[in-house]
Every structure is written in structure tokens, then in C-alpha cells.
Chain length 280, copies 2
């Protein structure tokens, strides 16, 4: 990035106008979070940033965060010209960051992974719940596959798997365990991907497909599912089918989910581990 020059210019100043300094909240790491809450002209914003950075440097601040909601897109360029760079963005805002010390920055990294689930449900006849998809790579292939879906931000894997199965197939279920997972890279936009294979216990059996994403849904003999040419010929699908078959035969222990309190707050989060070997 071409930020070093701008940085050097800002370093030259030592006097600032206190009235122009932007308000911010200290964070836990010696930094400051600035949220812009009122419309501003971009030149005015540039001037305020100049004064602010001089003061923040004198105060020994480290990482400076600026959160610009999308209605203040007119201010992005001014921040970049002052040496800020992009940290992350969501639909409604852009987060910019600037590191004041001369040491390498220790800013937290952006989210790096998308998370997905696949669901194994077996009914009393030893049949597995499968779907054909309307779009994506499987469109028109005739391949029957396990229901899959993307885990939302702030959604637990065990909850997401139940939700996706209900949405795609109409089947109610409860979470049993994680049978395995795969990590892959260079997925959308170069991000990495974690895919968790979940075992669920069906609580209803009458299928009702979702029209927008799903071409067909049915219960299918597990052996028939595993014998599809696409499954046999593709290593990862074949491995997953073998895990499913082992689970069906009660020869396989996955990771169960247990709610635990976090060390630093009263927040609860799920710990997934092998409860066949250890009870917590």
C-alpha cells in the first residue's frame, strides 16, 4: 500500500485544534473506535482527521478504528488519503483502521472462514434423507446428496443443521453429533471454508421440498446413496459416505455438543467432543 508517504506527512504536525478532534471510545488494546454519526463534508472530515491523528499520537494510541456506515461513503476517500486502510465491511458499513505506533500492528484479523453443514438423517428403515439441488454445481446432475447449507453469523452449528434440514426438506429433527469436518481453501473470494458433517435424528418423516433451491427430496436406501457413481468416484464424497455407513452400523463415534460457560463471561457456547469416551 502507498500509505507510508501520507503517514510521514501527518507525522510532521504537532499542533492540533482540540475542537476538531473526533470523538472515540477506547478499546481494550490501547486503541480507539470512532463512529461517525452525522453527515460531514469530506474536506471537513479530512481536517478533523488531521487534528485527531496528531492528538491520538501524542496520547500514545495504537490502533484507530473508523466505522463508516454506508450513508457516509463520501468520507471513505478522505480516510484513505490520511493513511487508513480497509479492515472489513458488512452490507451496511465499512471499517477502516490505522496503526499509529512504529511497531508492527497487532490488530485482530478479519473473519477468514465461511462455515457450512451437511446433515445425515436415517429413518427407521435404514434410509437416508437426500435431495437434488436446483442450482450450483449439482444442478441437473441427478446426484442425490445430503442436505447442506451455510451457517449464519452467530448461529450454532447444531442449530443451523436442524434449520437447514427443515427448510430444504420439511423434516423436523434433533442434533446428535458431528461426524467429521473438512477444511478447504480458495472458496468464494479467496476465503476458506469449514464444512461439518452432522448426524441428526429425524422427528418427522413426511418430506416437503423447498421450491426455490431443491429439485427433489426423498428417503433413499443408504447403500443406494453410497453406490451412486458420483459418490464412488469422488474421494471426499466417498469418504463421507463411508463415515455415514459406519455410523448407521453403530461403529462410529463423533463429537457431541455440550453447552459450557466461557472463562470470562456468563456467555455460553457449545463445546463439541467425543462423549462416547468422556462425560463432562
Amino acid at each position: 500500500m502507498e500509505n507510508s508517504k501520507v503517514h510521514a506527512q501527518v507525522l510532521l504536525g504537532t499542533e492540533y485544534n482540540e475542537q476538531l478532534v473526533l470523538d472515540g471510545k477506547d478499546d481494550l488494546y490501547g486503541g480507539l473506535m470512532v463512529e461517525i454519526n452525522q453527515p460531514m463534508d469530506s474536506n471537513q472530515f479530512a481536517n478533523r482527521l488531521t487534528s485527531s491523528i496528531i492528538k491520538w499520537r501524542q496520547q500514545g494510541k495504537k490502533g484507530i478504528w473508523i466505522k463508516l456506515t454506508i450513508q457516509y461513503a463520501n468520507l471513505v476517500e478522505s480516510a484513505v488519503k490520511k493513511g487508513f486502510w480497509y479492515h472489513h465491511a458488512e452490507a451496511t458499513y465499512l471499517m477502516l483502521v490505522y496503526w499509529i505506533p512504529q511497531t508492527p500492528n497487532t490488530l485482530p484479523v478479519n473473519a477468514s472462514h465461511r462455515v457450512g453443514i451437511g446433515a445425515l438423517l436415517i429413518n427407521d428403515h435404514g434410509e437416508v434423507l437426500v435431495v437434488q439441488e436446483k442450482s450450483g454445481k449439482f444442478k441437473g446432475t441427478g446426484v442425490w446428496k445430503l442436505p447442506t447449507g451455510v451457517v449464519n453469523e452467530r448461529e450454532d452449528l447444531c442449530i443451523a443443521s436442524i434449520r437447514e434440514v427443515k427448510e430444504e426438506t420439511g423434516i423436523d429433527s434433533e442434533f446428535v453429533e458431528i461426524l467429521g469436518f473438512r477444511q478447504s481453501h480458495n472458496s468464494f473470494f479467496g476465503k476458506s471454508d469449514l464444512f461439518f458433517l452432522c448426524m441428526l435424528k429425524p422427528l418427522s418423516f413426511s418430506v416437503e421440498k423447498q421450491d426455490s433451491e431443491i429439485e427433489a427430496v426423498q428417503w433413499m436406501k443408504m447403500e443406494e446413496y453410497a453406490a451412486q457413481p458420483f459418490v464412488v468416484e469422488n474421494e471426499i464424497f466417498n469418504s463421507i459416505a463411508k463415515i455415514c455407513l459406519a455410523k448407521k452400523n453403530n461403529d462410529y463415534a463423533g463429537f457431541s455438543a455440550v453447552l459450557n460457560t466461557s472463562g470470562f463471561s456468563s456467555k455460553k457456547s457449545y463445546l463439541y467432543f467425543n462423549s462416547h469416551n468422556l462425560s463432562l
Copy 2:
């Protein structure tokens, strides 16, 4: 978002100037990826977007992506005024997106999770490798904890765990298995977090601490580690210590890592599963 008005204005136009239409590459989902590769005045960009959107709509395009590297920060506002919103950002670029059809968008979601590892290493004396951290929540607490770290984008968990242990403690090791994992929410910037507890086999034993992050490092009796008040009193730390103790006593099966070829390319990725129950 206040995009509906802008959207409506654009809808009115049906004529466009072909020479102004921005170049883009079709994606696999009926959309278009536009990368700006030359400096442009923001008014000129706005005009080009107007013509482009009219043409793209007539062509039946769906999602329109605009990738603006940070040196073109001057163009962000124009895109937002035309109805684009933020999809994600990395240090060097901002990705904006616009959905042309009147149907709900099916755009892929942004990365939602950060991924971290904790490492369990046990030496021949039954001692566990532990560290005290210089910053963060554990600073100054005197708590001995397992080495932990953040998994980089495009980095495999099993590789990241070896790297982090080497960086923090100087110990060489090889990956054995995942003993369990925790999913938590509302971590940095509202993102979710996946933390994997990894068992590694030490290949060297002489510790050498990293000065910037680590206050102290040592091998410690496993029972002594597990008996620390902080560990005993905090549910998640206590659970993790119990898993570690069970593993030390050979009473616990985690998930091993096996490289598998993906179904759609020659790309290889790690599948983590219970190889104590099943060989693939």
C-alpha cells in the same frame, strides 16, 4: 438501506452509451465481476455505471460485483449512490455488490468465522507444554495455558497448530488429531469464532519463548496444569483439561486428518474424522 429510490431512478432509463459500459467477467451464477484497473473521475464513473446498469439489466444479469482496490477509494461514493452496497473488504480492496432482479438476492455470504487453535503437547514425563501470555485477557494473571493462536486465511488447522507452537515456544511437533472444538459468538466485530483443540506430538523438547507475545513457557505436570484455580473454576477450561487428561491416559479418540481430493477439482483438502473407528 436507502437504495430503493436510486434503484427506481435507474430503472427509468432504457438507452445507454455502449462505449461507457464497464468491462466485466461473467460469473457462474448469472452475474458479473467488474474490476476497476485505471484511475477515473468519480463523475465519469457514475456516468459509466448508469449506462452499464441499463445494459446489464437488459441482458438479464443478476449480481453485479465491483472490486475497488484502495487506490480507487474516490469511486466508492458513486457506486453507493447507484444502489451498490458493501459485500466485504480486505486491507487492499472493497467489494461492492448490486442485485438487479426483483427477486430476493442469492448472493454468497461474507466470511462469518475466525478460527483459532489450542495445542496439547505431552512429553515423555507426562508433562504438558504451557505458556503465560504478555497481553490480552491473561496478561498478569499468572495462569499457565496451552499455546493458542489464530489460523490464517488459506492455512490448514493441522499446519497452523504446528506453526503457532513453534513460534510461541520453539518446540517442533507433528499433528496427531483434533480433540474437540468450541464455537462462540460475538467475538471481534460481532463475528463468530471456532476454536480447535489439537493434539500434537513434540519432536523437540527445549523451549525457547517468543519475546513479543509470551511471558514464559515451560513443561508442567499435567495434573498441576489442570489443578490451577482458574482452570478448575471456569467451565470451558475445566472441560478442556478433562479432555487433555483423558487423552494423556489413552482413553480418548479425537479426529485425525486425511487429505482428500475434492469432488470438483484436483484440489486436496483435509477431512477430519474418527480414524480410531474407521480407516479411509
